[in-house]
């Protein structure tokens, strides 16, 4: 009668049922694993996820400077509530009065130029209107004025432009879609939101160029990386380890060093052009500050990211498969196409996705060797951010790009698995 399992659950040493005891041990194990991960998760949350979140917020927050627009012009927002821009009439007298009051307050806080610049992103001309009207409106005596419309039009006749008032009305909420509107090359007209003329759709053009050049670069890395990975997988370990250094050294070398090396090599008076002339040609090639330069440099920079995943897949394919195919009568081409190549497709998928994801977000290389027609969407984001100061639009463009990259990342995770990323 020593067997306890016949008349009750199996017991652990401390007298609790074994099942319960095991479940507790499992829970403890899970808790410990999460506790070990927690500090890093917290760190990534604060240093990385929250910044990304604040960028997403920026793309919809309707602010001028540090304040929300409805907080700067509260009276105007109320007064414009009933006005319909499509009616063809200017807003009511009350709206002009509200504008005079809010504008005076904004001038006092030195916010009127920021406000004008904010509206100017959508309707050119408003920045100068706000700037020029500043002092004149600040001098108006609100209590003494009877006809605000006439008084404001006297300050600047542009206050009589319906489209200006339409822009103000459209941007009177705390949140706005207008940055996305701009990022998708749409514009607000009196008739509503419309796409811009095809030749003015700069972001669409840039987005297509970024995707096209990234695809081209991915294709180039595949075409020249595939044979090299094959050779490395096929050679004896000692030789291939040695040759592998030639692949890994660029991988470890500073991106800026590689970009500057290409900038120096490809320039008009550079080494490659000197060799070209020495070969007897008279015309120097223009290899830099165009799309060709970007493709040459970025293919070089991203090539290791293609070779390494390809190599690790090819390494697992037994060479006997090819021999078997040939001994069964396949020609070299058939053996390659029907036996070897299909087995390398996971490597191609992994390498191509990785290279494409990295290429889409490139900034430094296109900035330095791209010139005018070789820049990527990242460069435009940086330009909007640092030079034009339109942070909202930069954030909206960034968000669109983030969505594209995350979609690709999701596909990569499904096809390859995050845990299969290898470095060197």
């Amino acid at each position: 009668m020593a067997d306890t399992s016949t008349n009750g659950p199996m017991m652990a040493a401390d007298g609790t049922p074994l099942k319960q005891s095991l479940a507790r041990a499992l829970r403890r194990q899970k808790r410990r694993a999460l506790l070990l991960t927690a500090p890093l998760l917290l760190f990534v949350l604060v240093s990385f996820i929250m910044p990304i979140g604040s960028m997403l917020m920026r793309s919809i927050q309707n602010t001028a400077g540090t304040d929300y627009i409805p907080d700067i012009i509260p009276n105007v927002v109320v007064a414009l509530e009933d006005w319909d821009p499509q009616s063809g009439d200017l807003p009511s007298e009350a709206a002009f009065k509200a504008m005079a009051i809010d504008f005076k307050a904004a001038f006092k806080n030195k916010q009127h130029t920021q406000l004008g610049r904010r509206f100017n992103y959508e309707t050119p001309g408003m920045s100068s209107l706000f700037r020029k009207s500043g002092r004149a409106i600040s001098r108006l005596k609100i209590e003494e004025i009877t006809d605000f419309k006439a008084e404001m039009l006297d300050v600047d006749k542009d206050w009589g432009k319906i489209e200006y008032w339409a822009t103000i009305k459209a941007n009177s909420g705390y949140y706005t879609g207008s940055y996305y509107m701009a990022a998708f090359d749409a514009e607000r007209t009196i008739e509503g939101v419309q796409m811009k003329d095809p030749d003015q759709r700069i972001y669409q053009k840039l987005m297509i160029r970024t995707l096209w050049l990234s695809a081209l670069i991915t294709f180039c890395t595949l075409v020249i990386g595939y044979p090299v990975a094959w050779l490395l997988a096929d050679l004896p370990l000692r030789t291939s380890n040695l040759l592998m250094i030639l692949v890994l050294l660029p991988f470890w070398t500073s991106l800026l060093v590689r970009t500057s090396a290409w900038k120096i090599l490809l320039q008009e008076q550079g080494v490659i052009n000197d060799i070209w002339i020495a070969l007897g040609f008279t015309e120097r090639l223009s290899l830099i500050n165009n799309q060709l330069g970007v493709v040459i440099a970025m293919t070089h920079i991203l090539l290791p990211f293609m070779i390494l995943p390809l190599y690790s897949v090819m390494k697992t394919i037994p060479p006997s498969y090819l021999r078997a195919a040939k001994s069964l009568g396949a020609t070299n081409t058939t053996a390659f196409l029907r036996v070897y190549f299909p087995q390398t497709t996971p490597g191609i998928g992994a390498g191509a996705l990785l290279v494409f994801i990295l290429a889409v977000g490139y900034f430094i290389t296109p900035e330095l060797v791209g010139g005018a027609d070789g820049t990527f969407i990242s460069n435009r984001i940086y330009f909007q951010f640092s030079t034009l100061g339109n942070w909202g639009l930069a954030a909206a463009l960034g968000t669109i790009m983030l969505v594209i990259v995350l979609l690709l990342y999701y596909v990569y995770d499904k096809l390859v698995g995050i845990d299969n990323v290898k470095l060197g």
């Binding site: 991960t37 500073s254 320039q267 330095l368 942070w391 990259v405």
Partner: protein, 288 residues
């Protein structure tokens, strides 16, 4: 494709074999040439970015250490040296942060039962995938709101976040071949978890941790976009200085800097390779 050409190979096979080899050779040349070419160019006595006739004749007159002296501030401009020392402050701090947190998390993630493991991994590796311009724009907004923008701490935090994926990838890879029964054996003999970690687990996964650390170091040491947006004049790093130099007037000092950086990368690569072989030998995976 065969490694060696059999004696009975046909003419066509011979052509194919040699074409293939030559093609691969050209690709290797393409990979390595731009990196090595900056080394001789950096000894140019002139302010040119190409070989002068004197250099081609191997005339000692054509060579000088001028650009290296400029790097060290011989022309009265200490900005390169300043940038270099900033880099040498920021990179180790960021590395320390990402290695310590990353190793701990990698150990947690390598336990047998981790809830949401895949999602956590995806999250931790995302700093490597998200385009830098997006990351840095977000960091600019967020760090400004908590007054970290333009501070050393801000740049270090940002760089540590960028280095984490590399630490996680290398350390989890090392841990995947770590025999978990060793920690159980240690515990069995009375060691507490901390002792087990430092005496048993750490020495065995150290090569992976160091490789991850070197990756994190080079990530921070090379990074420019985050420094451009999150940093301020006080955090000008070497890549920052190079980027600005390349965008405006290219100064030949860049050649000397590039050479120094190439030498550093060679040193790091050698270290990582040696560590990898050592760890493979420890695990009995490779004969060498």
């Amino acid at each position: 494709m065969a490694t060696t050409l059999p004696t009975y190979a046909t003419f066509g096979q011979k052509i194919w074999y040699y074409t293939f080899r030559v093609f691969c050779g050209l690709v290797f040349f393409y990979l390595i040439f731009p990196i090595l070419i900056v080394i001789p160019l950096s000894f140019n006595a002139q302010d040119f970015f190409t070989f002068t006739p004197e250099m081609l004749r191997l005339d000692p007159e054509g060579y000088s250490l001028k650009h290296y002296r400029d790097f060290l501030g011989a022309n009265g401009d200490y900005s390169w040296l300043q940038a270099f020392s900033n880099s040498l402050i920021i990179a180790p701090l960021a590395t320390l942060l990402s290695v310590s947190l990353g190793t701990l998390a990698a150990i947690g993630l390598s336990q047998p039962h981790v809830p949401f493991k895949r999602q956590i991994m995806a999250l931790l590796i995302s700093p490597m995938i998200v385009p830098l311009i997006i990351t840095s724009a977000g960091m600019f907004f967020f760090y400004s709101s908590v007054s970290l923008q333009g501070t050393l701490a801000g740049v270090v935090l940002a760089h540590a976040a960028l280095g984490i994926p590399f630490v996680i990838i290398t350390v989890t890879a090392t841990l995947s071949s770590f025999d978990q029964s060793l920690t159980r054996a240690a515990a069995n003999m009375g060691a507490d978890p901390v002792t087990t970690f430092f005496r048993i687990q750490m020495p065995l996964i150290l090569p992976g941790v160091i490789s991850g650390g070197l990756f994190a170091f080079i990530t921070s040491f090379d990074e420019v976009v985050v420094v451009l947006l999150v940093g301020s004049a006080g955090q000008k790093t070497l890549p920052w200085q190079m980027f600005i130099g390349l965008r405006e007037q290219i100064s030949p000092t860049i050649l000397a800097v590039a050479t120094i950086l190439v030498v550093i990368s060679i040193a790091l690569l050698t270290t990582v390779e040696l560590l990898r072989r050592r760890s493979e030998r420890l695990r009995g995976m490779s004969p060498g």
